[in-house]
């Protein structure tokens, strides 16, 4: 093989491999998108970093004493091999020693998370006020009672009822700074389809622009 042939064949291989790389990268953009109904275990890095860090070993799944984590299979709409849970099926029990994080060899579940109450798996939202029976004056309070950060992440707020003969409504209100997104509320909701759900925080949380400040009287 002379030099010209060598350069040509190398260029051919490089071009083929580059095209393959382009195809794989484009596919991975699709394959990396996590649907809103699948939640990551506690301590998971932000989604964009998670896909690079997680080595898909499933040690977190095995470490979970409640067996509520799963590894995604090829064909599911969840990045293949990565851990997730579905709040409606089984929420995170928020173990104090966070065994799933301790088991992670890659730090895709950040070992810097030492207090489970600082976890951010998502944020609960009362997504259907028409279906939630608390808004109809019934005292359900199941989500309030099951919440592991009881009285902080979900509070019952008193509202006067407009209906004749009904004195008060006890409305579940989620407080974002305390909610860890464990999903126990969604799991426990007594309706056929949950009226309270846990979603990735960025999908539901509002935020003031930095130059806007609330005045003491509450106006902008």
């Amino acid at each position: 093989m002379n030099r010209r042939e060598f350069v040509l064949s190398s260029a051919r291989t490089a071009a083929t491999v580059s095209l393959l790389g382009l195809g794989l990268s484009l596919y991975s953009r699709q394959a990396s998108s996590l649907p809103a109904w699948a939640l990551r275990p506690p301590g998971a890095l932000p989604e964009a970093d998670f896909h690079g860090a997680c080595i898909r070993c499933g040690l977190c799944v095995r470490a979970c004493p409640f067996d509520m984590l799963h590894l995604a299979r090829l064909g599911q709409n969840i990045p293949t091999g990565t851990p997730y849970f579905i709040a409606r099926e089984a929420g995170c029990e928020m173990c104090e020693d966070i065994p799933c994080v301790a088991a992670c060899p890659s730090n895709a579940l950040d070992h810097g998370l030492t207090d489970i109450n600082d976890a951010d798996m998502g944020l609960a939202i009362v997504s259907d006020q028409e279906a939630c029976i608390a808004f109809q004056g019934l005292r359900c309070e199941v989500c309030f009672n099951i919440c592991p950060i009881r009285g902080d992440a979900i509070r019952l707020e008193y509202r006067h009822s407009e209906r004749p003969g009904q004195r008060a409504l006890f409305i579940p209100v989620v407080h974002a700074e305390h909610c860890t997104g464990c999903g126990k509320c969604e799991e426990a909701c007594i309706l056929e389809e949950a009226a309270i759900r846990v979603l990735p925080r960025h999908l539901i949380q509002g935020k003031l622009a930095q130059h806007e400040r609330l005045n003491s009287d509450g106006g902008l």
């Binding site: 080595i55 499933g58 299979r73």
Partner: protein, 288 residues
């Protein structure tokens, strides 16, 4: 030479002796798999995780070094157990020869060996020409993509982890990828996956570059050119320099050692040879 790629079997050599390495290897492959399956199937959690990273008896972490490297190249810093696990795996295969993983542990080997066996049985001779160096290009790609995209791109298609994880955690549609590898090996390129493309194997080959365990052909003068060893070898190009090469060692004698890092040390050449040409050879490079 036997017809259509079949092996020339000397009736005086018992079947067990002709297959002892193969049986040992299958025992090891299935044994490793069985250890991982003890938990999910019988609730005996001796080993958890999968080949990407595992924990044995709550004390021994093992991590695939290529995966951990990709994880780091994407910009993340692994936990201590990850580093220890990868270090142990590196040490093990640096001593034993990297591609021992391919022949003795990797579950995809069961699939590609089946394809190779069927190829021989069915007399499928044709094979598209493909450079065996492609795997090094792919290894480069596998390492480059996490840097460029921040995502472990290879893990979305890697048949090795797809199969092993699939068997333990549920396979989904990943069996299609394995079916593709099987058909590709059977019909398109002989030993096409493990011997030409797999970047995982290439990485392990590099890890074992200085390993002191080799297959050698010390009785090469007894060779009767039946070509059986070439037919069963997953990397037949590695045999020729040791068996027929004229390279001399520094002391002026012929060097019959298979030196290539591509050799998987499967031992098939040792057992199929009716003339007992091959054997194991231990020793560091330079003083064997």
């Amino acid at each position: 030479m036997a017809d259509r790629g079949r092996l020339s079997t000397d009736p005086r050599k018992p079947w067990l002796k002709r297959h002892r390495w193969l049986l040992l290897r299958r025992f090891n492959q299935l044994g490793v798999l069985f250890m991982f399956l003890l938990g999910p199937l019988f609730g005996a959690w001796l080993v958890t995780g999968n080949l990407s990273s595992s924990m044995t008896l709550n004390i021994l972490p093992l991590t695939d070094p290529l995966l951990l490297t990709q994880s780091m190249l994407s910009g993340s810093w692994p936990a201590t157990t990850g580093f220890i696990g990868a270090g142990l795996v590196l040490l093990f295969y640096a001593l034993l020869g990297g591609r021992v993983f391919c022949a003795w542990v990797c579950p995809v080997n069961l699939v590609t060996d089946l394809a190779a066996w069927l190829r021989r049985r069915l007399g499928i001779r044709g094979s598209a020409r493909l450079s065996r160096n492609l795997r090094w290009w792919l290894l480069g790609l596998v390492l480059l993509l996490p840097v460029l995209t921040g995502t472990m791109v290879w893990e979305y298609v890697n048949p090795v982890s797809m199969l092993h994880r699939g068997l333990i955690f549920g396979i989904g549609w990943a069996w299609l990828i394995l079916a593709a590898v099987f058909l590709y090996d059977l019909l398109i390129v002989s030993r096409g996956w493990c011997g030409h493309l797999c970047p995982v194997g290439a990485c392990y080959a590099a890890i074992g570059v200085a390993a002191p365990v080799h297959i050698a052909a010390p009785r090469r003068d007894q060779c009767d050119d039946c070509l059986d060893c070439f037919k069963v070898c997953p990397e037949p190009q590695v045999i020729k320099p040791a068996l027929k090469g004229r390279t001399l060692r520094s002391d002026g004698r012929q060097d019959p050692v298979i030196d290539s890092i591509d050799c998987t040390k499967c031992g098939r050449c040792i057992e199929v040879c009716d003339r007992d040409v091959f054997g194991l050879r231990l020793g560091w490079r330079g003083n064997r």
